[in-house]
Symmetry: C2
DNA sequence: AAGATACCCTACTATAGCGACAGGGATACT
DNA sequence: AGTATCCCTGTCGCTATAGTAGGGTATCTT
């Protein structure tokens, strides 16, 4: 069970956008630089987020990307779904009669496990992340000041 | 995010052992047959469960495998841990100063997600599974009887 | 007009892990 | 003697991930 870099990078990119929301669009170059990624790879990720409607874009010079909705309205699950896909944890292959009762019994547990993980993502928005980030930043600044 | 067959097969094998607990040891051949696996593959899985102390074995003719502890004392998390390893969702690579605050903020979420999934496994024992199984079996039997 | 930038499409490589099979030999119990 | 566990090794194919690379078009700002 692992989380891919796609989701990780993508989520962080979205967090960047949330943090810079009022300073106008963020270009691919900037996003890629902060993630230490090639522009091409970043393009692939952000492109999908755009097609999915989580991000909007501004073309031309000084263009770039913006969140399509306010950060409170974008959950981490939204991002996950776009980048990771909705593929289930464990496919149940039973189309006809299922002899595999034991499998079905365990199946229920896997499903529960998956749902538990997803519900964490569902209950967390980009606004939450941004808040955590700023709080952390403030805490560190305070340490240095004192 | 996916669950591997190792965990799935392993858990089902353990369920088999739980269900046949009183009928003496279950041989590899039987386990493999019920999982529709090669004996060799089953051997690899059960072998690890044995080394980990979840399963005990009886050598020689009429030998086989048994649960090492009562089913109530074996959680699905125990099994997961043995077969999947304790590797976290996302390793934090920061050993020194970490410039990646955004990453750390997201890291916390991934961790929470992982914990949520694991807590489902922790709260479920083989005895629970066996109970579900028997209940289901009884329900189906009733359907056919009526 | 020039430059910056999004947008799109394709191809390519490398690696790692998973899923599984195969064989053989030693040990232990009935 | 026969049935099993036990243990070690090697092989194979597949798939997904994780990226890189290149080149072209459209659109906006300055």
């Amino acid at each position: 069970m692992k989380l891919t870099t796609k989701t990780r990078y993508g989520t962080r990119a979205m967090l960047e956008l949330a943090l810079h929301q009022e300073e106008g669009p963020l270009s691919l170059g900037e996003i890629a630089a902060r993630q230490e990624l090639s522009e091409k790879y970043a393009e692939a990720l952000v492109g999908r987020l755009r097609v999915a409607g989580l991000v909007s874009s501004v073309r031309g010079a000084q263009g770039g990307y913006l969140l399509a909705r306010p950060p409170e309205a974008i959950s981490l699950y939204d991002i996950y779904l776009v980048l990771e896909g909705a593929e289930p944890f464990v496919p149940c292959s039973a189309e006809r009669d299922c002899e595999r009762w034991d499998a079905c019994v365990t199946q229920a547990v896997w499903q529960e496990m998956y749902d538990a993980a997803m519900s964490v993502l569902r209950n967390r928005t980009l606004a939450d992340l941004a808040r955590s980030y700023r709080r952390k930043q403030a805490a560190v600044a305070a340490t240095y000041t004192i």
